[in-house]
């Protein structure tokens, strides 16, 4: 065992990557028989309280609404279909599947979403050998518990920060996927480590998952955001009924848009700060050839009209931006301050008028 950890990780990455590209990757589900009895039992013991609480919540909600159990069954069917859907991963040259539990977590809450995931996983294990009966507990913990709770809490927290539905949906899908894959790595490493140490194997499995799961998480975020936005546009009443949004919530919150713009500028600033440092080593064709030849022929370059070396350009830009921003804010102050009407409000008003 003389190899450095980086080399070992590289070999793990490429060997597993080569296998992944040979076939569609079903990385989220732990296959039948992988976990020894003690670990399989432990994950079952961890999963059972969550499933039991989910069933309790489901029964409580279905007492008030008789359509809720059929809805949960249909959501399980949707999660089943989503987690069988092959999504292309261009970076890894393979296909993988999203979890779908982030979506169900957002719509019906994390507790009932665990039951929905358990049902979808059991059907997959029975009919497709996708997962297994002995590993059902571990799969419920990773996909059901971690996926649903990570998706739900990310969505709720971001929505309470008024980040907007689209941004919250995107981040919920992203974290639900990554949390699932993190937990799957823990379960796999603990199950197959044998006499070896846990952490090195955990890191190897984590690294081996990166080529597919890292981009897939971003794609699942995009799909979740797309799904939430479609529901918001077509049937906002469903989102209100399921307590996903309140009537006043908007698709892209001001803070969400601001955060995106700030992130864009920070990223751009960091990039532009990095580029000059590197570019300073290489003079451009203007300076190296044209200016040199012109100078040789007695036509020296004049000083620029706006000389970046003189005065405080940054201060000028800030002042200009402040002036433009102030003008825009003053001109559109009604749009910024007045309460925004949503489709839900319009629908409610129309219903009241009908009555």
């Amino acid at each position: 065992m003389n190899n450095s950890p980086i080399k070992i990780s590289l070999i793990a990455l490429f060997s597993v990557g080569a296998l992944l590209s040979a076939q569609d990757a079903y990385a989220m589900h732990i296959s039948e028989g992988i976990l020894p009895l003690n670990w399989a039992a432990l994950w079952f013991a961890l999963a059972i309280p969550f499933v039991a609480y989910g069933l309790y919540s489901l029964n409580r909600r279905s007492r008030n609404d008789l359509s809720f159990k059929p809805l949960a069954g249909l959501m399980a069917a949707v999660v089943f279909i989503i987690s069988c859907m092959p999504i292309p991963i261009p970076f890894a040259g393979t296909c993988s599947h999203p979890c779908g539990t982030g979506i169900s977590g957002i719509l019906v809450g994390p507790a009932i979403s665990v039951v929905i995931a358990a049902v979808a996983l059991l059907i997959q294990a029975i009919f497709l050998a996708h997962g297994g009966l002995s590993t059902l507990g571990a799969d419920i913990v990773s996909m059901g518990v971690m996926g649903s709770f990570a998706g739900y809490f990310t969505f709720r927290i971001l929505l309470s920060l008024r980040m907007g539905i689209a941004v919250s949906g995107f981040m919920a899908g992203l974290f639900a996927d990554w949390a699932t894959y993190l937990m799957t790595s823990v379960e796999l490493a603990s199950g197959i480590k044998g006499g070896a140490a846990f952490l090195p194997l955990f890191y190897k499995i984590l690294i081996a998952f990166i080529p597919t799961q890292l981009p897939l998480g971003i794609l699942e975020g995009a799909i979740t955001a797309g799904m939430v936005m479609l529901l918001y546009k077509k049937r906002p009443d469903i989102l209100v009924k399921m307590h996903v949004i309140k009537p006043g919530d908007v698709a892209m919150g001001k803070q969400g848009m601001t955060a995106l713009i700030v992130a864009f500028f920070i990223f751009g600033g960091a990039l532009s700060a990095a580029i000059p440092a590197e570019a300073a080593k290489w003079t451009g064709v203007d300076e190296a050839v044209i200016e040199k030849v012109a100078k040789e022929h007695g036509r020296e370059a004049k000083a620029p009209l706006i000389d970046k070396e003189q005065g405080d350009l940054l201060l000028f830009l800030f002042l200009a931006a402040g002036a433009i921003g102030g003008f825009a804010a003053g001109y559109y102050w009604r749009a910024l301050v007045a309460e925004k009407r949503t489709r839900v409000d319009d629908k409610k008003e129309a219903m009241m008028e009908d009555k």
Binding site: N3, I8, L10, S15, V16, L19, Q23, Y26, E32, G33, I34, P36, L37, A52, L55, L58, S62, R63, L66, S67, K69, P70, L71, G73, L74, M75, A76, A77, V78, I81, I82, I87, P90, I103, L107, V115, I116, V119, I123, I126, F127, L128, A129, H130, G132, L133, S134, I192, G195, L201, K204, A208, A222, I223, T224, G226, L230, L231, K234, R235
Partner: protein, 250 residues
């Protein structure tokens, strides 16, 4: 979809066996397989189950599709164990300046895990290929799996096919409108497809609940009534599990 290729051979004797007995025997052997250290018992169980699958005349394509994913995982685990676990080297080579060494202990552990996976998959294959889903649900209910869970399982199983059909219609419509022509459009189309499926799920759930309430639905679906056990089946199954337990101890 592999679902439609799911075969339930009624002529085979295992298909006529009570689903509850089959479920208990399957779980008992699964526990033995998972707790066994070594490969001999796993190989015996695999051979026995594959023989039964062959006797049930399961088409090769269905069989290979079912085993393809576990076999792929077996390969990944074998590689991880052989090259990253153990101390005694079997062989060592250098590729592009990276020293690659295979270890004896890793190979032994990898083979043990691989045989365990294949044996567990084989047991489940025999169970699934010989039991209709409704009987399996009744057996789960007899095993005291909560009724709420069974009901959700029933709804999900019933509506998977309906939603797959809906998804197919939406997918064809998107494809005909070049919805999958570029990568960006592909992701956007998948998002719309998933959203539309959820809308369909809401519509279907409303329609079913209205239809069921009109037929006296009060929040619980009655499940299949259990037939009494056949003594011969129970005794033979008990003897079989005892024999397997004896082999497991060896």
């Amino acid at each position: 979809m592999i679902f439609s290729k799911y075969i339930h051979n009624e002529e085979h004797w295992l298909s006529r066996l009570d689903a509850r007995v089959k479920l208990v025997v399957t779980l008992a052997i699964l526990v033995m397989v998972l707790s066994y250290k070594g490969s001999a018992f796993h190989l015996f169980v695999t051979a026995l189950c594959l023989f039964q699958c062959w006797r049930m005349k399961i088409p090769w394509r269905v069989f290979l599709l079912r085993f393809s994913e576990p076999v792929f995982i077996v390969l990944v685990i074998l590689l991880l164990k052989i090259f990253f676990s153990g101390g005694e080297s079997i062989f060592s080579t250098e590729i592009m300046g990276i020293q690659i060494t295979a270890y004896r202990e890793g190979l032994a552990e990898g083979l043990s895990i691989a045989s365990r996976i294949i044996a567990a998959i084989s047991i489940m294959a025999v169970m699934v290929f010989s039991t209709p889903f409704t009987e399996l649900l009744a057996a789960l209910s007899w095993l005291r799996v909560p009724q709420g869970f069974i009901e959700i399982l029933m709804y999900a199983y019933r509506y998977i096919f309906v939603l797959i059909e809906d998804a197919g219609v939406i997918y064809d419509a998107q494809k005909n409108r070049l919805g999958y022509a570029t990568l960006n459009r592909r992701f956007s189309s998948i998002g719309i497809l998933v959203g539309s499926l959820i809308l369909k799920a809401f519509e279907h759930s409303q329609n079913i609940s209205v239809a069921m309430v009109q037929r006296g639905y009060d929040g619980q679906i009655p499940l299949l009534k259990q037939k009494p056990f056949r003594l011969a089946e129970v005794v033979i199954s008990f003897l079989f599990v005892t024999m397997m337990g004896f082999l497991w101890q060896i």
